[in-house]
Symmetry: C2
Subunit: 207 residues, 2 copies
């Protein structure tokens, strides 16, 4: 389905329904583990009908992935170079944590893809994602040289933020298996922990 014309109402609706269903199935089972029958069933459509809107299973998957990168990078873009460094980074941490809470399927889709070698989005990682991180690292470095941020490797700082926040979406089963209480409580605890944790680590040492 190479669509040049504007989509009809039905096309728009069904493509959205399919992508939403596919997001759930792919994030639960990975690309290989997901089946078109599962996706079709979750979407409430027949399998041939799904393939009427998307040429193949792969096209559904790559459509999802490419649409997601933008969403995924948004919180990084919101960092204000004019703001107070520690608060800006803590704001970023909290936005990422909220994404883990509100968009866990999207997070697990990425996790599945990257754990298995990112065969379908490696170019996006090496392109737009790397560029965005490079810019951010430069900003962090300038904050550090101004003495407004603890002097640590900015790239690995970003990695640590991704790791600690996405952990609550990607490994939620493990978290739930170890902690008592419900998921909402876990996220509140995580927010409090990450706030005090990053605040300590990032605040420059007074000499």
């Amino acid at each position: 389905m190479t669509v040049q014309q504007p989509l009809t109402r039905i096309q728009k609706r069904n493509r959205d329904v399919i992508l939403d269903a596919a997001l759930g199935v792919f994030s639960d089972y990975g690309y290989r583990g997901a089946t078109l029958d599962q996706i079709a069933h979750a979407a409430g459509l027949s399998k041939p009908n799904v393939l009427y809107y998307f040429a193949s299973k792969e096209e559904i998957y790559t459509t999802l992935l490419s649409g997601l990168l933008e969403t995924w990078l948004d919180p990084l873009r919101e960092i204000d170079p004019e703001g107070e460094p520690v608060e800006e980074i803590l704001g970023y941490v909290m936005r990422k944590l909220q994404m883990s809470r509100d968009l866990p399927r999207e997070s697990r889709l990425f996790a599945n893809e990257i754990v298995q070698g990112a065969p379908r989005i490696l170019d996006q990682i090496e392109g737009p994602l790397k560029d965005m991180v490079d810019d951010t690292a430069r900003l962090f470095r300038s904050w550090m040289s101004d003495g407004r941020l603890a002097d640590i490797d900015p790239y690995h700082l970003v990695f640590s933020i991704w790791a600690t926040t996405q952990h609550y979406a990607d490994f939620s089963v493990q978290v739930a298996g170890i902690l008592d209480g419900d998921a909402a409580t876990h996220f509140e605890q995580a927010a409090q922990f990450l706030d005090s944790f990053y605040r300590r680590a990032l605040t420059p040492t007074v000499i």
Copy 2:
């Protein structure tokens, strides 16, 4: 193959060969994505021969998983309750980071399993793993009440250590796509970053 008798030399060797090959294939493609043909080929055996040593694909997988949990928890057991808190935890961080470097396939196998809901090791998470973490959290709490460790949630501290260290194995493709240099350099940088990062976060504030 429910083996009660001691394994013959050939059995021992071939089971090991199969498990090693399966570890590579499962960690690269996940349970569903891996095929018996791939495993057999990687092991240098025919498919029926593989099934002569293991009753099914599932048995190979669960054998791998259960054998791994022990290895995975070892670094946690090495924490010395009599040691200096911050140094003990930093030692744990470094041991976990080394595991990501030296056993990336094992790390990715776990990651794949847990991201997809841990359907086959949930009981091990809720059992031995939770017990071990409970003990560790108790130790951390006692250190905190003695004022020898910053006062932060011990469970989420453990999660953060898992997340930040395993990130370098599970998401190595992403790390390599963003950083320059080779993997060895990335691990050196990571070690330095995590040391200064956790040192700052864990050292109790002097009043």
